[in-house]
């Protein structure tokens, strides 16, 4: 099952990228995610590994994931190493007027699970889609808030610099 959602954020790509590249932020904006722990010596970047879990129905599902694509300010993609089969991708594309479109793609399933696997995927998709939408909106809120704070700080700087 594949879920694809996007949101336009009023912030430069660089700022969103910085936010997404920091693993410590994921528990703050990813809805339903109960764990996002660094599981490799490398904290972020291509090859970094994380143990992530998301509450879906009666279970916290996820597993060990590895970053398999890392194109600064454009794409982050991961794939599962253990746990349920999953692939995720953040796509950042400029829209003009200082806005950036952030797209989140998430594909999941359990190979070999047959019909119950398919039924579970369909039923879980409602919950997961909700998590993905809320995550994008929380990302938008967090980043836009950061941008406003940064702009306010920049506006104040010349005033405080003048004695």
């Amino acid at each position: 099952m594949r879920i694809n959602e996007s949101v336009a954020i009023s912030a430069p790509r660089q700022m969103i990228w910085d936010y997404l590249a920091e693993p410590g932020n994921y528990l703050h904006f990813m809805s339903g995610v109960t764990r996002w722990e660094v599981a490799s010596e490398q904290r972020s970047g291509l090859g970094a590994r994380y143990r992530m879990l998301m509450r879906v129905g009666s279970a916290e599902v996820g597993g060990l994931i590895e970053m398999v694509e890392w194109v600064p300010e454009r794409d982050i993609a991961w794939s599962s190493v253990t746990g349920i089969d999953q692939r995720g991708r953040w796509r950042l594309r400029e829209e003009g007027d200082g806005r950036t479109r952030v797209e989140f793609r998430f594909a999941y399933g359990v190979a070999g699970a047959g019909i119950p696997g398919y039924v579970a995927e369909v039923i879980a998709s409602r919950t997961i889609r909700g998590h993905v939408r809320r995550s994008l909106h929380q990302l938008k809120r967090q980043v836009e808030h950061e941008r406003l704070r940064a702009e306010a700080a920049r506006r104040r700087r010349p005033e405080t610099a003048t004695p």
Binding site: G57, S58, E60, G112, I123
Partner: protein, 334 residues
Amino acid sequence: MPDPAILAEKAKTNGNAGVNGVGGGFPLSPPDLAARVRDLAGRAGSEAIGAATSVAGSVLGVARSRIGRALSADLDDRDPDFIRENLPLAWLWATLWYRAEVRNLGKVPEHGPVLLVGNHTGGNMAPEVIVLPLAFSTYFGVERPFYQLAHNLVLASPLGPYLRRFGAMAASHDHATRALQAGAAVLVFPGGDWEVHRPSWQSSKIDFAGRKGFVKLALAQDVPIVPVVTIGGQETALFLSRGAWLAKLTQADRLLRLKVIPISLALPWIVNIGDLLGHVPLPAKITIEVLDPIDIKEQFGPDPDVDEVYEHVVETMQDTLNCLAAERRFPILG
């Protein structure tokens, strides 16, 4: 022409001559014929009995070897790929039917052997038997070995081979020891059949029937105990009585290690005696809470009193169960 008297004597000594005309066709007197018929009938009867005994013996032998195999514990029977492929089915069952909720699974130590001690609910269709392994396997991954101790009858049933692949094994001190020594997490329900069939109005009562083997096991293997408390299972049917008196009356307690023959009102049987074929559980909401690990030696000293540890575990679980019971507003709905 031979002398008929000589021929008759000859026929007698040959033994199998001619009653049905196949062997020789000498005429016999009625008493001789009757004796021969009796002889043959007796022989046929003994042959039939012998054949039946041999068939019964081989059937019993096969059954004995299958039961023996079911009750043995081979840690390799647990199949992580099989578990992984069946997680969606268990997830559907736990999510849609029981609306199950498992809390604080993160309290289970991340690595190493651990003894999970749970209260047992819901008769032979115990919901926590599905929900807890599902939650454990999705949380820690199917790669982490996890075994569940089960009643002999459950493993000897047709479902036995299926359950063994999930990590179920016959409840015994030796089997649990072997699993713990291999670094696995082991789930045990000390109350067993006694607790699982308690009446529905005792739903919020921990009743291990004084079985302290789990404390001795944890002490011997020096592993932490993680109590796991479940509520809701006793609402999946109306459990009326354990039927301990019935087990004694039928000697099932002695022959089958069954201390109870429960009596309940359950679907589709309406009146369900024994629950041997299981039942269709009502979709009661199941809530499971994992408690803090108990390091016995750290908490009770190097030479702890087994009774004291047992009381502590039961009291801790009872306190949590009381809280969970207070949370529930309606039966079944939760």
